[in-house]
């Protein structure tokens, strides 16, 4: 999967994007977030309060319960503030 981070999620993880294989046993976004939280301090900080993180899968806004599969583009970001 291609994983993208925007705004303060990018700053906290220190990454704008990375390629990650869907971890064993992970089937949806919330499972993937739980897995990311265990990957180090930057991730733990970025996903410390997952309730304020928004997610898009394949460039569509989705809920944390959305299923994931290899080949998906997953993006994490704060609530949008454009306009």
């Amino acid at each position: 999967m291609k994983v993208l981070y925007f705004a303060w999620l990018k700053e906290k993880t220190g990454l704008s994007s990375e390629d990650v294989d869907l971890p064993n046993g992970v089937t949806d976004v919330s499972g993937f977030v739980a897995w990311l939280q265990g990957r180090g301090d930057g991730y733990a900080d970025a996903f410390g309060d997952a309730s304020i993180v928004r997610v898009a899968v394949n460039q569509e806004h989705v809920e944390m319960s959305h299923p994931l599969s290899n080949g998906d583009e997953v993006a994490f970001f704060p609530p949008v503030t454009g306009g």
Binding site: F6, W8, A56, Q59, H61, V80, G82, G83
Partner: protein
């Protein structure tokens, strides 16, 4: 039409183009969003807008399509800038052309409200106290919900 760009734009020229050659248009409503120099009582000298290129175009097209489905519109335009913008600079431009003034007004307001909560842009303010990410406002969520179909 959708344009996502770093460069500034010319509202007069865009308005001219939007209705050019179509004399069935009775009204053109537009909105320009500007960088304010004040936020939460702090002086803001500039803003930096980040976006999610692959998704932005797609989301704005979906929002524009929704407006055309809801109102009789002859033409619409959304321009959104990204990158560093000084106080007073133009950020966003939305324009709607219709035979009817209410349709133009409502669709323009709808487009602004929807893009505020659905288009993947993030603002970082530059203040004397340092840079900080702008937090999303509940009032924008509420503004979006008023367009929910009942």
């Amino acid at each position: 039409m959708i344009r996502v760009q770093e460069d500034d734009f010319d509202p007069g020229l865009e308005l001219e183009r939007l209705s050019a050659g179509n004399h069935g248009i009775g009204g053109v409503c537009s909105f320009i969003g500007l960088v304010r120099d004040i936020a939460d009582d702090e002086q803001v000298s500039a803003m930096t807008l980040e976006h999610y290129p692959g998704m932005t175009q797609k989301q704005l097209e979906a929002i524009e399509k929704e407006a055309h489905a809801r109102w009789p519109l002859d033409a619409t335009l959304i321009i959104h800038r990204y990158g560093r913008l000084e106080a007073g600079a133009r950020i966003v431009f939305v324009a709607t052309a219709s035979a009817h003034r209410d349709a133009a007004f409502e669709a323009c307001h709808f487009l602004m409200d929807w893009l505020k909560t659905k288009a993947p842009f993030w603002k970082k303010e530059t203040t004397e106290a340092g840079d900080q990410w702008v937090e999303a406002k509940d009032s924008d969520e509420q503004a979006t919900r008023r367009w929910n179909k009942t």
